[in-house]
């Protein structure tokens, strides 16, 4: 399928169900149920599920632009996680529930920060030695107290009840890392668009601030980082549905490291208006910062990648060709 044929209807749907006003409402506690119904009906949630199991059987590379669109629209529900979870459940012959599914890496008795934990109904919990699809109600879910955040601090005191589909080779985290990387690339692209548009509109000293060379230089770097995020996310999603450790690490390392710089420039160019709640910029910069920390930051993935790299005597170029581009 042509990627635009897929992306355009998806984008149109997100524009109607995930406007900034709707995102804010969910962040302030309104129900996301009607938004979710639209997503269920659209069929996109089964995009990765094999055709034999009633899905569209798409590859990760086909779905990656959709995941980026989720970030571009700050969609306030775990759509990418649910898509990936539905794939894993279908592979294991487990019927997927209707509601939104979040991802968690947790040990019994330990707290874990779960992105979208406040709006999910189910959590696919990676326990380290297996996975369980648990209901959110089976654990204790607390808001983190971070303004507007949809993440929850969750805890299960014992192994939760639920079906236990087999975990992918390196657990859930590589999948979580690439879907997060794609969402971050999307949020970054939105921030670049907003920031260049603002630089062209805002007049100080008698001309648009974008005419100032200092701002042009900073925006050029922001564009470089944004394009690097997109390519890194695409690299992460270029293989099978379950990404390799090296590809996932590359994707999340680069997007996480770029995220802080991108958010900083976006705010700097916007001046004071950018930090106000009523201006939309913060919807995306807050997400970039949260997602940078979710599923392992740049140094977490760098350590894993560094260990794998040092285990081989290949040249750097040969190593990335064989491991990241494979």
């Amino acid at each position: 399928m042509d990627s635009n044929e897929l992306l355009e209807p998806f984008e149109r749907m997100l524009e109607t169900i995930s406007s900034p006003a709707q995102v804010r409402a969910v962040e302030q506690g309104a129900s996301a149920a009607s938004l979710w119904d639209e997503l269920v009906q659209s069929g996109f949630l089964d995009a990765l599920v094999p055709e034999s199991a009633g899905g569209a059987g798409l590859a990760l590379a086909d779905v990656e632009p959709l995941w980026r669109a989720l970030g571009r629209h700050a969609v306030p529900v775990p759509v990418a996680e649910t898509m990936a979870a539905r794939f894993l459940l279908a592979e294991a012959g487990v019927d997927a529930p209707q509601g939104p599914i979040a991802f968690a890496a947790a040990r019994p008795g330990q707290d874990a920060i779960v992105p979208f934990g406040l709006v999910a109904e189910h959590v696919l919990v990676d326990l380290g030695d297996g996975m369980v699809l648990a209901s959110v109600a089976s654990g204790q879910a607390e808001p983190t107290g971070v303004a507007g955040s949809l993440a929850a601090r969750m805890r299960w005191d014992r192994v939760p009840d639920g079906p236990g589909p087999p975990a992918p080779e390196h657990g859930l985290r590589p999948m979580a890392a690439v879907l997060r990387a794609a969402a971050m690339a999307g949020a970054a692209a939105r921030l670049l668009d907003m920031t260049t548009a603002y630089a062209n509109e805002r007049v100080q000293f008698g001309k648009p601030i974008g005419r100032q060379q200092a701002l042009q230089q900073n925006l050029a770097v922001m564009a470089e980082d944004t394009v690097a995020c997109r390519l890194a996310a695409q690299l992460g999603c270029a293989g099978g549905v379950v990404p390799t450790l090296a590809a996932a690490a590359t994707a999340k390392s680069v997007t996480s490291a770029s995220a802080a710089r991108i958010a900083a420039t976006a705010h700097a160019v916007h001046g004071a208006i950018g930090v106000s709640e009523e201006y939309d910029l913060q919807l995306y910069t807050r997400r970039l910062h949260e997602w940078r920390l979710a599923d392992g930051s740049e140094s977490y993935w760098n350590r894993l990648l560094g260990r794998a790299r040092l285990a081989s005597g290949d040249s750097s170029v040969d190593w990335v060709r064989a491991q990241v581009f494979a």
Binding site: G210, Q213, A220, T226, L231, E298, R309
Partner: protein, 383 residues
């Protein structure tokens, strides 16, 4: 924005070039110390360049009727990647293969193509680029060196500077003022081929801070050129140069200038067995960035393969790439000297200091960081 820059892969038929070029390169670098391999761009070895030509690794993008391989930019990507990753001495053929031959092919006359390109493809005609002058660096449109039309051709007077490899080159493609005044900016500029053995040409090497003399000043004093020295059309020099710079800026060379040092450092870490968290994170961080830059560079190559001139995209990859190339020696220096009780070999130390000292040039050659960011800003609609 810049959505055309998207993940692309190297075609299998071009990947298939690797074993053969790798074997040739391995022989050329076998006896070279690492700090010589780190000089790759500056390493001049005419015999090696001719061997590459004979083996069909030059002129990969050029038509067969001129001795090229008609394979396209992806093939060149593979070959350049192999050359730079191993630190092969590429200076001899580098500029002719990357810029001069495509320029002559795109804008030259049939006679010029037939005369120059087959020799470039054999590694036998070596070229340099005469753009910069003492007063014209970033402000390239201000060039003053003139070629006056005469009854038989052109009369050349003036001076070029920083001309890489001019000492070893046969020809320069010079950007010259052929009409009007420097104040006329882009109007009145043309590109001419100058045979560097003609009377009136003087080349004076400039030694750089590492002790190398890879670039030079070139003086022209009443140099007489024939009519057919002009490439393309009189007055179209600016347009041609802009297209040429997309070739210059888009390749993998803009991410691999420090890769020989990176690999030497990784070997050192493997030998010492140091694998604490900080070290692993550093190795991994560089690896992730290298992989992503490579994907960006291949994405840029894909635009060239479609016949586009990705000026903005190439600037974006070059700026991010040279940033990476410059950060490597700083970080590796801190790492090695941050472990003063873990001796590094003299060869690694020499390589480190060579790359550290020469690194400022990475973001100067081919257009400075600030100029590239200006091009990107224009691409963003800010100017």
């Amino acid at each position: 924005m810049f959505d055309t820059l998207a993940l692309a892969s190297l075609p299998p038929e071009d990947e298939a070039l690797r074993p053969a070029i790798r074997e040739l390169v391995a022989r050329a670098v076998a006896d070279m110390p690492v700090d010589r391999r780190a000089r790759s761009w500056q390493g001049f070895d005419a015999a090696f360049s001719r061997r590459l030509g004979q083996a069909g690794f030059l002129g990969l993008n050029l038509p067969k009727r001129y001795g090229g391989q008609e394979r396209g930019p992806f093939a060149r990507f593979v070959v350049v990647e192999e050359l730079l990753s191993a630190g092969a001495p590429v200076a001899g053929h580098w500029i002719a293969d990357r810029q001069s031959a495509p320029l002559i092919c795109n804008y030259g006359t049939e006679a010029q193509r037939a005369f120059y390109i087959p020799r470039i493809c054999k590694g036998e005609a070596l070229f340099c680029i005469g753009m910069s002058e003492p007063g014209s660096g970033s402000d390239l449109a201000s060039v003053r060196t003139r070629a006056e039309k005469t009854a038989t051709g052109w009369l050349l007077n003036g001076q070029k500077i920083w001309t890489t490899n001019s000492l070893h080159s046969d020809y320069m493609i010079a950007l010259l003022r052929t009409s009007g005044k420097p104040e006329d900016r882009h109007a009145g500029l043309s590109q001419l081929i100058v045979d560097l053995r003609l009377p009136g040409v003087t080349i004076r090497p400039i030694v750089d801070l590492t002790g190398d003399a890879h670039f030079a000043e070139v003086f022209f004093e009443n140099v007489e050129l024939a009519d057919d020295a002009l490439i393309g059309r009189e007055g179209e020099g600016w347009k041609q140069v802009t297209a040429e710079l997309a070739f210059e800026r888009s390749g993998p060379e803009r991410i691999y200038s420090s890769v020989v040092l990176l690999d030497a450092w990784v070997r050192h870490l493997r030998e010492t067995g140091r694998a604490d968290d900080a070290t692993l994170a550093m190795v991994g961080g560089f690896t992730a960035r290298l992989a992503t830059l490579r994907a960006m560079s291949i994405a840029c190559t894909a635009r060239l393969a479609l016949g586009e001139s990705p000026v903005v995209e190439a600037s974006l990859v070059k700026d991010l790439g040279t940033h990476f190339e410059q950060e490597l020696p700083v970080a590796i220096g801190d790492d090695l000297a941050g472990h003063p009780d873990e001796p590094a070999s003299t060869e690694l130390y020499r390589t480190l200091l060579y790359v550290t000292q020469v690194a400022p040039s990475f973001s100067l050659r081919g257009g400075t960081r600030e100029i590239l960011r200006g091009i990107i800003a224009r691409g963003l609609g800010l100017r």
